[in-house]
């Protein structure tokens, strides 16, 4: 999963940083009494800044195109699902949902086809996070009153998917969930 590589990447970075700091600390402990050191610690570190800007530039140009806003933007979704969130449940439907008397259906989604979720909220801000059968997040968007967020995704594994609320919406927040099937 993507999350595992993120955690690994983070741990590697954190360990590297720690090693550098420990090494610097030890060099100070072991140093001779009278080494002069540098006069002004803020001097001549410009190249370091420059390297970091370049590293960040590369990182940004690789990751930005992968942003979810651009996912499947050119394709026509095979199915559109309307989603309305309301303290503390989700309504999912293939037809548009009446805000006055919201109701939902059992949802079955096709495999390997682009699906579009049109997500809104009828009261407060909620989250709409899709968890795969192994309970890892595969994608998400927010459910905001007065707005419709369009989330596109292509499911590549069949099974029961969970939807959890990921924005604090009141005391029922942790029980706010639903499921749908992909096959």
């Amino acid at each position: 999963m993507k999350q595992d590589s993120i955690l690994l990447f983070f741990c590697l970075l954190a360990i590297t940083a720690t090693i550098v700091f420990v090494w610097v600390f030890r060099s100070s402990i072991k140093a001779e009494e009278r080494t002069p050191g540098i006069k002004n610690a803020l001097q001549k570190r410009f190249w370091f800044l420059l390297i970091l800007v370049v590293v960040f530039g590369i990182f940004a140009s690789v990751t930005l195109p992968k942003s979810p806003y651009f996912a499947f933007a050119e394709e026509v979704p095979a199915k559109v699902i309307h989603v309305a969130a309301l303290q503390f449940s989700f309504f999912l439907s293939e037809k548009s949902i009446d805000p006055k008397s919201p109701s939902g259906d059992n949802i079955e989604l096709p495999l390997n086809k682009v699906v579009e979720f049109r997500v809104t909220s009828l009261d407060v801000n909620h989250g709409f996070a899709i968890y795969n059968p192994q309970m890892r997040i595969v994608t998400q968007t927010q459910a905001m009153p007065g707005y419709i967020n369009r989330l596109r995704y292509k499911f590549t594994k069949p099974g029961i998917y969970h939807v959890l609320c990921l924005e604090y919406c009141g005391v029922g927040h942790p029980v706010m969930q639903t499921t749908f099937i992909v096959k």
């Binding site: 700091f21 960040f56 927040h173």
Partner: protein, 485 residues
Amino acid sequence: MESLKLKKITALWVITILVLFLAAIVLGILMRLNQAEVINQEPLTFYTNMTTHGLTMIGIWFVAGMAAVNYLLQRYVKTSYTANLFAFILTVLGVVLLWLCTYLGKFNTGWTFLYPLPFKDLGAAPWATPLFLVALTILGLGWLVWSVSMMAKILQRYTLAQAFAWQHLSKQPKSETPPFILITMITLVGVIAALIAAVIVIVLFFAEYFSKGSFVNDALLMKNLIYFFGHTIANEMLYLGVAVIYEIFGELSGRPKWKTTWYVSLAWNSALIFILTAFFHHLYMDFVQPEGLQIIGQLASYLASLPSVAVTVFSIIVAIYGVRIQWSITNCLFFLGVIGWVIGGLGAVIDATISNNIVLHNTLWVPAHFHTYNAMGNVLFSLGFFYWFTTQHVSKLVISKLTKFALIVLIISGIGFLMAFYIGGADSIPRRYSTYPEALTTGPALARMGAYFACLYLLVILMFFYNIAKRCFAILSAPSSSVGA
């Protein structure tokens, strides 16, 4: 005796902050224990605890930075004692009102109080939301007066250009701006901007409250405003701590004082812009937000870390590398805090990358990284300052065996407490869940691990509290003649 008065009010700040800190840590441990199913609280209790914990922590570490900066500013300019005292009184009043809101009124929106949640059924008393807005107003007023007064005092002594160290951008600067003044100035601009946004948010909330339905706010605009305020204030409080490090790290270590150079000036000036636009990363998952702003959010989040990482961290490293310095409790805490800050920053940059945020947003990864640079970063900066402030002398800060041991326990507790959050985040465990659905199998076990390590952390803080508070009381009870020097 101007400086004695300043010393006493600073001691008062320190004690107040530490007492509230201990209480808020206990709330944090209770939350983790509840998520671990070791204790069993009502969701309403959990969420009032969560709201109180978040608001209290943000509040105290912000004023901790402000009080420290105010204290050190006396080396350069004469600051207003009245503004400091005014801020203290309003802060105490505001915090008392907030605790009343959460514990008597059951107010539980989380510290970010996203619109329109405060107006919906919260299981809270009907007066809780208006009282919360009043409490925010009181805090905002106190802090706005304090920060504007500090900035005004700086600008009496330095011209605007000097305060921002613009003259250092030329080849031969005619005058010198101390890094402390530069960073304080940059930070105060951010603080004031954040507080003004808070005022706008409060006015909009009140407008809807009093209009009885004829005026309705826009949820997206409110979210932008709230995060502009919340993110910026939480970010700037770190820089207040950093300003303190720039000022006293050198002298504590028996090394020359740091001086501003052209690119230090450039880095911090550009940081001002990045810090004020990085908040967009809180809205990555709102797809209706214009894409341009999302991209600005990612770039600004990256770039905002440059002055801090490249300049501060690298400066600390070269100041220490291969040089025998005096390691006191204060610069040990500073050094440890910088490590926590860097590691938390790495976690933050990963999360501020939109393509990662889609699987990390509002998972435990978020408390993971911000607790790293707060509990193991900014808090240590402030504790280091508290130690230095209460002794004022490096020779009294030497590290005993016990302190060394405490620092090691602190590191271990921090790693354990934080790793439980990071692993939880990677496991897609949501943040702000009072208990976890059965399907999220690793949630409770990680919460238990977090709770136990946090107890260790609490023990170390108790020891620091004892040392620092003892000396604070001595300062407070000292007669005017003996502490002056």
